[in-house]
């Protein structure tokens, strides 16, 4: 399965404030009543962006200056909580192609990588500095370079790192594991054959 090699992501940035942004906040559970991921984009951060009557709250994602931003900046432990892939699916469909944060929750990080959304880790200081640049010039293009491990914006650059395995997967176009996993079929059957509970599966009550 040929996938795009994700080496650089360029776009405008937007900073969503807060630590421990959980996946319920990224996509409230009531919007997961669906059998496809289509259409989830409009519900990204819904309760942060909208009042119960549907009117808009002041929020960076409602701010026309940041309209069309493709790179999301946030705090630590981003994506904690529920394992719902609906969260990165919603962010992708909202238009985000990369997330820069101080740290990421593990399941969210894995889900995002599998969708080809790089999640790069930056220091708090650098996130703040980058946010400062973005807020003073929302049209500023920022580039995440996975090979360099850097984010560049204006004439500044910042360290932005991914764990080696995720970076490799993205830059080599192997971020979706299914092809690799399918190649292991003979080994899968061999290992399953060593486990008594696989055989016992046929015994029914």
């Amino acid at each position: 399965m040929a996938l795009e090699k994700i080496i650089q992501v360029t776009g405008r940035g937007v900073y969503v404030t807060g630590e421990d942004i959980d996946t319920d906040r990224i996509i409230p559970a009531r919007f997961m009543k669906c059998v496809t991921f289509d259409g989830l984009g409009e519900y990204a951060f819904y309760d942060e962006r909208k009042n119960p009557d549907g009117s808009e709250k002041p929020h960076p994602l409602n701010d026309s200056r940041y309209l069309g931003a493709g790179i999301l900046l946030s705090g630590s432990n981003f994506g904690c909580g529920s394992s719902r892939e609906h969260a990165p699916q919603a962010l992708y469909r909202f238009g985000f192609r990369a997330v820069l944060a101080e740290s990421f929750a593990e399941i969210f990080f894995g889900n995002s990588t599998t969708l080809g959304i790089p999640c790069a880790i930056m220091s708090k200081q650098d996130i703040q500095a980058l946010t400062g640049l973005v807020e003073s010039n929302p049209a500023l293009l920022i580039t995440l370079d996975l090979l360099e491990g850097k984010v560049t914006a204006a004439d500044m650059d910042f360290d932005a790192r991914l764990p080696d395995h995720a970076r490799e997967a993205l830059v080599s176009g192997k971020w979706d594991a299914i092809a690799d996993l399918l190649e292991g079929l003979p080994d899968i059957q061999r290992v399953a054959g060593t486990l008594p509970y696989f055989e016992a599966a046929c015994v029914r009550v």
Binding site: G18, G81, N111, T114, I188, P196
Partner: protein
């Protein structure tokens, strides 16, 4: 830190093989005498090393439900793939099922579409579905153990972060996203990096009125909501040895709330006694063979851990949350922390939490008015939770200002509770007795908070909007503390209300 008996030469040798050196990895490659349960289960299920350094890990048991599986089946169809081991995949419906309306079609057409999609996907692929009419339906993390599907020394995955619950049996159980659900359906494997292991000991006897829920809330409070990032939590010590299987499940369930994707307890006689005679447990001659095998998976006494932490049971009091993540917790007799009492990094979230919760720094949590009491969820919706509450609830009445609901975790739990007369005790006290499901833990069905109602909840997450209303407020606590709040209409120390000593 307890790194076992590794010498520098071994470390250097391995480091030379692997530029991406991590302590957790080198245990995979060097033959060692002592191992953790995680090491042993990993070795038994590792299919091969993938090019990116992840392990292709065989998933012995795949549990699926209606919310995170339909897209995975769709992806499978798009790729022209089939479910590889349908006999190792089990389904139930839990998140969207109404608890007061059990007839189909459901009033909510979206919920109705989801149950029908799961039914169709299971029928087409030969997956066992514990459907509503089966009498075995319930929250996936309650059904697996109840049916004896969850077993020691196995790997389990489910598209739900509370899959860590199954670790209570000495299984390694992962919450996964939908693309990984697809991977497991198609290959019965997934790509994953081996976590480090933190051993968490709790020693001694818990005081009356202090429960396993308080233990896990205390651990998360101490280690933080991201303290477990990259770790599996191995829980042990005399407190865990004395815990029932269901108490262990409550703790393992919330591992993810502390950032640890996996949490487990080593299997012992308590585990085996729980499993014996359950529908999918080994039978007759196979039982003894299985128990011998299961025992062999327990961590060796001198197993190496990446970190070890010990808490004393006597130091733990009934614990409640005051904020918008499960780490924002205090003992019932404490006050909501002031900014000065918190580390600098936690202050912004604390401020946001106080605004959302309508609380003030420095105020006692006891006495805060409660609108709703929710007893249920994969954390605390099991028979022992209901039994314990019913012991104290008998003869008491829910406050007229509180809407109180009990949602048994499964139809199995519900049936037993009815037979034991527990349901009657709850009804007599003024609780609504509902059908099984996830219900108000996440408000995907009609059981939702309204406006800024405050809910005393036995569930696992107090995130903003978690219980269905964006402005709804959640205070997490043990089931008995929920009952106490339901009776008085405010956050209450159950030990005082029920004169426990």
């Amino acid at each position: 830190m307890a790194h076992g008996n590794r010498n520098d030469k071994e470390l250097a040798l391995f480091a030379a093989y692997n530029d991406n050196f991590r302590f957790a990895d080198w245990r995979n490659f060097i033959t060692i005498m002592s191992k953790t349960l995680l090491d042993k289960v990993w070795e038994a299920h590792a299919v091969r090393l993938l090019p990116n350094g992840a392990t292709q890990l065989l998933i012995g048991t795949h549990l699926i439900h209606e919310v995170t599986s339909p897209q995975a089946f769709g992806m499978l169809r798009d790729l022209g793939l089939k479910v590889l081991y349908p006999e190792r995949t089990f389904a139930t419906v839990d998140h969207i099922v109404p608890t007061d309306e059990r007839e189909e079609p459901f009033s909510d057409p979206l919920a109705d579409e989801m149950i029908k999609a799961l039914r169709k996907n299971c029928a087409e692929s030969g997956v066992t579905f514990f459907d509503l009419p089966s009498g075995k339906q319930g929250i996936v993390h309650i059904v697996g153990p109840e049916q004896g599907i969850t077993q020691p020394g196995t790997t389990i995955a489910c598209g739900d972060s509370h899959t860590s619950t199954h670790g209570a049996f000495g299984a390694i159980a992962f919450g996964i996203g939908t693309s990984q659900v697809r991977d497991v359906l198609a290959t019965q494997t997934m790509a994953i990096h081996k976590p480090k292991v933190r051993r968490i000991n709790v020693e001694g006897k818990l005081s009356p009125g202090v429960y396993s829920k308080d233990v896990i809330l205390h651990i998360i409070r101490k280690l933080g909501v991201n303290g477990g990032l990259g770790y599996a939590y191995e829980y042990g010590g005399s407190t865990f040895d004395a815990f029932t299987q269901e108490e262990r499940m409550t703790v393992c369930n919330m591992s993810i709330e502390g950032g640890a994707r996996v949490g487990y307890v080593n299997p012992d006689e308590t585990t085996f006694a729980y499993l014996k005679g359950r529908p999918y447990a080994p039978k007759d001659a196979d039982w003894d063979t299985a128990v011998t095998r299961w025992k062999s998976f327990a961590s060796d006494p001198d197993a190496p851990y990446d970190d070890v932490i010990t808490y004393q049971a006597a130091d733990i009091s009934p614990t409640v949350t005051w904020g918008i993540n499960p780490g924002q917790a205090i003992f019932i007799n404490e006050k909501v922390p002031t900014a000065a009492e918190l580390p600098e990094k936690d202050r912004a979230t604390a401020e946001e939490a106080l605004v959302h919760m309508h609380l003030k720094a420095g105020q006692p949590i006891k006495g805060v008015k409660v609108d709703v009491a929710f007893l249920g969820s994969c954390t605390n919706g099991r028979l022992s939770d209901l039994t314990e509450v019913a012991r104290y609830l008998k003869g008491k009445k829910v406050s007229p200002t509180v809407k109180a609901i009990v949602v048994p975790g499964s139809q199995g739990v519900s049936l037993l509770a009815e037979e034991m007369g527990l349901a009657e005790i709850f009804r007599d006290a003024g609780f609504e007795w509902r059908g099984a499901g996830c219900s108000m833990c996440l408000g995907m069905n009609p059981d939702q908070l309204v406006g800024d109602q405050l809910c005393a909840s036995s569930s696992n997450r107090n995130f903003k909007g978690r219980q269905g209303s964006p402005t709804g407020r959640t205070i997490l606590m043990s089931p008995l503390m929920v009952a106490a709040a339901a009776i008085t209409g405010e956050i209450t120390d159950a030990r005082e209300l029920f004169a426990m000593s």
